[in-house]
Every structure is written in C-alpha cells, then in structure tokens.
C-alpha cells in the first residue's frame, strides 16, 4: 500500500511541478504579499513622521494675524493657488477684530464638503487647530480677569497606556501572520483544482479508478502533493517576509516585527496540519463541483471560512470559543510567539487535533465520492 501511495504521490508531484502557471500563480502571492505590506507600512510611516503642510483658502487673513500664526504653527497655511490648496475655505468675518477686542465670540466660517472622505481628516485638522486657538485665547481672558482657567476643566482624564512596544503592533502583526496562513491556501489552490476537477475533466480520473487501487489512496496522494506545494508557498513567504520586513524602519512605530529562524521553524511545524486540512478541503470541494470552472468558484467561496477565522483573530474580535478552533488558534499561537509571550498550548493542541480530524474527514468523504459514478462521470 505504501508503495502504491508513493507511486501515486510521485506522479502527482511530477504532474503538478510541470504546471508552471499554476505554481507561479500560487507563488506570486507568497512573494508579493510581504513586499506589499512593507510598501504599505513604509508609506504610512512616511506620512506619520513628516505630515504634509495643509494649504487652504483663508479669506480676510489680515483681520486675524494671531490666528494665522497659530494655524501656521500647526502646519496649516493660506494659499492663493487653487491647484495646490485643498477645497477648504476659512472665512474670517469683517468684524473679527472688533468682536475680539470686545471679548465677544468672533465669527470664523469653515466652508468645506464634509461628505468628501479625502477632505475629512483635513477638515478635522483645521477644526482642531481653530478650537485650540479659541480655548487658548479664552484661558488668557480668564487669567486677565483674575480667574483660574482650570475652573473650566471639571475632569482631568489621565490615560496610562499599558501597551508594550510589541503589543502595540498587534494589528500589523495580525496581518503579517494572516498572510502566512493565507499562503497555505493560496499557494496550492490552482493545483488542487487541477488535480481533482481538472483530472476528471481530462478523463484520466476514470482510467485511474479502473485500476486496482482504493479511491482513498488516490485522494491521499493528491492531498499529499498539494500539501507539499502549500508548504513550499509557506517557506517562500517566510523567506520573503524575513528579508523584506528587515527593511521596514519599525522603530518609528515603537515596535518591531522580526522573522527569526525559530519563528520560521515554529510556523512550519504549526502550519503543516493546516496545509493538510486545506489540501483535503480543496480537493473535496473540487470533486463536489461538476466542472473545473464550478470548482474554481466553490473553492474561492470556501476560502472565506479560513479567512474569516484568521481575520477575527487578527482584529481581536474572536470570542473564547473561536480561539479553540482550527486556524484561529494557530494564528493566535503564531502571534504570541512573535510577541514573545507564552504560547496557548491547550488551544493549540486541541485545534491541531481538530485540524487533522477534519483533514481525515474531508479525505474520507472525497474517497467515498470517487466511488459514486455520478461524481466520476458527472451524471
């Protein structure tokens, strides 16, 4: 039996390894995802570290030199060039100076389209700067009348941020681990469909089944071969991640993501059962579909489940029960490993066991399906 499995596995790997397009389609993701994240983070960092000056239209600027100086110190400038400035107008009323000198509210009108998503942050920036100036002037007025301006503050809210530098990067870390898990599914998706729905469509499946072997052997060999390519995808994404994340200036964000050799080995060990499960799931779904095209749609739809499980862990909205489930538990363990925290062993062990049981169930069901003439001939 082992010998037969080896023959089948060898053929599957040989056949798949010559399907260059499918392999490359899987590897594009493994190579592209970490590089994409690096570029994204780098752009984000650049914006955070050197905010661009905001140019707006200010009418009657000469009425309020104090306000203008305050705005300038907050990177907001008046610009006459319509092409360079944002569509925000700050109109200072004609009687601004008079009202100011009388100690009454001076009107400054902010004209902008608040439904414009791109402008919203800039509008907030202007509003904040103006209200800060307003409260500064108000405080000065109170002081000049002999009143302690702190009377205006009933509550002093103090925030103690308990985040450690590493835990601060939780979200980005979650996304990084998410890309690793997704690589397991994506790297072999095309191969999985090709070796099951494709094999049936090319009529070689019925020939294979006419030979003296069990349908479960055929399925196990396919699952094995797909798993091998999934793991190849994982190794590639780990190496690309190691190289590319090393180039991101993480220290500016107060945390760092370093892919160590220990983490790489840990990921490979933890993801192997996931790759087996992913392969058996994709084969099962592909055999359920009537055609290659149908299989592509179904597999893509089914991939939403692991994505959702991984996502709830990434965004930390997982309930306690979800943390025991396959994929979610593995993702959590990988995140804790990178953060240097203790690994949640009970969850990890149970979910690994569940993952392997699922792999067996999907393989068994696929094997049973191959005994059905309806499935084999699409009757």
């Amino acid at each position: 039996m082992i010998n037969l499995l080896a023959v089948l596995f060898k053929k599957e790997v040989m056949d798949a390894s010559r399907d260059k397009r499918s392999i490359m389609a899987g590897l594009y993701y493994a190579i592209g995802a970490p590089i994409g994240i690096c570029l994204l983070v780098s752009v984000l960092l650049q914006q955070l570290s050197s905010p661009e000056p905001l140019n707006i239209n200010i009418e009657n600027a000469n009425q309020a030199p104090g306000l203008i100086a305050h705005l300038n110190s907050h990177d907001i400038f008046a610009s006459a060039d319509e092409n360079k400035r944002k569509a925000i107008t700050l109109s200072i009323s004609e009687d601004y100076q008079l009202k100011m000198s009388e100690g009454r509210p001076a009107t400054v009108t902010l004209i902008a389209d608040k439904s414009d998503d791109k402008l919203r942050a800039h509008i907030n920036q202007v509003e904040k700067a103006v209200s800060l100036y307003s409260s500064e002037i108000a405080s000065l007025r109170l002081v000049s009348r002999g009143i302690d301006p702190s009377l205006m503050r009933a509550i002093a809210l103090e925030v103690h941020d308990q985040a450690t530098p590493d835990s601060k990067g939780g979200m980005i870390l979650g996304i990084v681990v998410f890309t690793l898990i997704l690589a397991l599914f994506y790297a072999a998706m095309n191969l999985a469909i090709d070796t099951s729905a494709g094999e049936r469509e090319r009529n070689s499946l019925s020939l294979l089944l006419s030979h003296p072997l069990h349908s479960l052997h055929i399925v196990l060999a396919k699952v094995g071969a797909i798993t091998a390519f999934s793991m190849l995808g994982l190794v590639v994404i780990l190496f690309v991640s190691k190289l590319s994340y090393a180039m991101v200036p993480w220290q500016q964000m107060g945390f760092s993501i370093t892919i160590t050799p220990e983490f790489m080995l840990f990921s490979i060990a933890i993801c192997l059962p996931l790759a087996l499960m992913s392969a058996s799931l994709q084969v099962f779904v592909s055999f359920m579909a009537n055609s290659f095209k149908e299989a592509q749609s179904y597999v893509t739809m089914v991939l939403f489940i692991p994505m959702a499980l991984s996502m709830v862990t990434t965004y930390d909205i997982a309930t306690d029960i979800v943390q025991w489930l396959p994929i979610a538990a593995q993702q959590f363990a990988l995140m804790e490993f990178i953060k240097g925290n203790a690994i949640p062993l009970p969850q990890l062990m149970l979910s690994t066991l569940l993952t392997l049981v699922l792999c067996f169930v999907f393989s068994f069901l696929s094997g049973r399906m191959l005994k059905s003439e309806k499935v084999v001939f699409g009757l």
Binding site: L8, M14, D15, S204, L205, L379
Partner: protein
C-alpha cells in the same frame, strides 16, 4: 475470459443496458458492435467496475467485478474512450506509472515500458510530453498503457478512431499477437472493416440488448446478406450511426 450476465443499468430515465449477456473467450478477439447510443461504453464501464449494474453481473476470469473489484481489475487492461492521457507527462512516464499501478514493481515496470514502446514503434515520441500529440499518437500511448502489464483480458473502447494506416496496422498486429498469446480481447467499434477483419466473435447490440452474436460468417448467414455491414443494418433494422 469476460462474461456478462443479464446486465441491467438505468442512467437517468434511459435503460442503457437491458438484460445484456455475452461471453468473450480467451484466445479470441470479440467485437462489440452497435450504433451510437447502443450502450457499448456503458457496458464496458460496467465490466471494469466504474459503473454499478442495477442487476446482473460481469465476471473477469470468473471473478465478479462488483464483489471483488480489486482482484478483477488486476486481470484487466483498459483502453478507454477518451484516452485519459496526462498532458504534462511523457508516454514513458505515463506507461510506467500505470504499469506500477497494475502491480508491477519499479524495475519490472521500467522494463515492461521499454518493451511495449519498442513493440508499438513509438520510440520517437516516448520522451516528448503528451501535450500537442496527434490523435494517433494519443491512441498509441493509451494502447501501450493498456497492455504494458500483459493482462489476461484487454478491453478497448473504439481503438481505431483517428489512427492512420500505419498505426491501424500496428494495432491490428498487436491484437492478433495478443490473441495468439491466448489473451481475451474485447473491443467496441462501429468500423465494420476492422471488426470483419479482426473478430472471431461479434456481438451486435442496440438499445442495451444483444441483437445477434456469432462469427462474421454466421451473422451474414443469419441475416442472409453478403457483408457484415449489410447484415448489421438488417439485424438492427436501421442504418443509424454507422461510420464505415
């Protein structure tokens, strides 16, 4: 020996096989002749265990296919329609793979592959990938796969389709050689000349039933016609689906 006993099989609302019974003897070439949709492929698929008969049974060397599929399949070589090639493998890899699946060990399989490639004169294509092969090259590869493990029974579904003259002659010689070696050869076809030239025993079927069977001479006599083609038309009562 292949024995089909009272096979019934319904696919959807169609009675594809309707009490089909015949025997293909060792050392003889048996032709399964019938118009399109007669149930030839369904019959052959049932014999090699891919379809399950609603009632009746198929036996290979006395082994019931439905009860002992593994043992029965080991005694079969199969040339299917369509061929079922792996486009990204070379014929050598393809034949070697199926030889191992049929029970040969790695060394035996390698040697058997070399032998069958020589026998079918396909050395020129043996190490090219099957992608882009002509119909004839595909047929040869599939044929080599069917006989590589020297099975006692060989089933061929429409083996002459798309073959050129040279390939047809090679196929004919191969089938005659297999017959001389005492193998049981069962093939389906609707090419009258092939059947008339090769078969010792012809089973004419239509609508999932055997209409008549016997040697070519017996069938001609039964229908009182000169040629097998005329006898065939007379026996099934229509000229539908004949490609001669």
């Amino acid at each position: 020996m292949i024995e089909v006993i009272n096979l019934n099989k319904k696919i959807g609302n169609v009675n594809a096989l309707n009490g089909l019974s015949f025997t293909a003897q060792n050392g003889k070439i048996t032709g399964l002749l019938g118009p399109n949709g007669a149930g030839k492929t369904t019959c052959l698929r049932t014999v090699f265990g891919l379809l399950k008969a609603d009632s009746g049974n198929a036996e290979i060397d006395g082994i019931d296919v439905a009860n002992e599929p593994m043992a029965a399949k080991q005694k079969l070589g199969l040339f299917p329609d369509p061929c079922g090639l792996y486009e990204r493998l070379t014929p050598r890899e393809y034949i070697n793979f199926f030889a191992q699946l049929s029970g040969l060990n790695a060394t035996e399989a390698r040697q058997a592959t070399v032998d069958v490639i020589n026998k079918l004169a396909m050395n020129d294509i043996a190490d090219r990938r099957c992608q882009g092969f002509s119909q004839g090259q595909r047929m040869k590869t599939a044929l080599a796969q069917a006989v590589v493990h020297n099975p006692s029974n060989i089933i061929l579904d429409e083996p002459t389709r798309g073959l050129d003259v040279m390939s047809t002659r090679i196929l004919r010689e191969l089938l005659l050689l297999l017959k001389a070696q005492g193998h049981c050869v069962l093939f389906s076809s609707h090419v009258m000349q092939e059947v008339a030239a090769l078969c010792d025993h012809v089973v004419i079927m239509a609508n999932g039933q055997v209409i008549a069977q016997g040697s070519v001479a017996e069938l001609c006599e039964q229908a009182k016609k000169e040629t097998l083609e005329e006898a065939f038309v007379a026996l099934i009562g229509s000229d539908e689906g004949i490609a001669a």
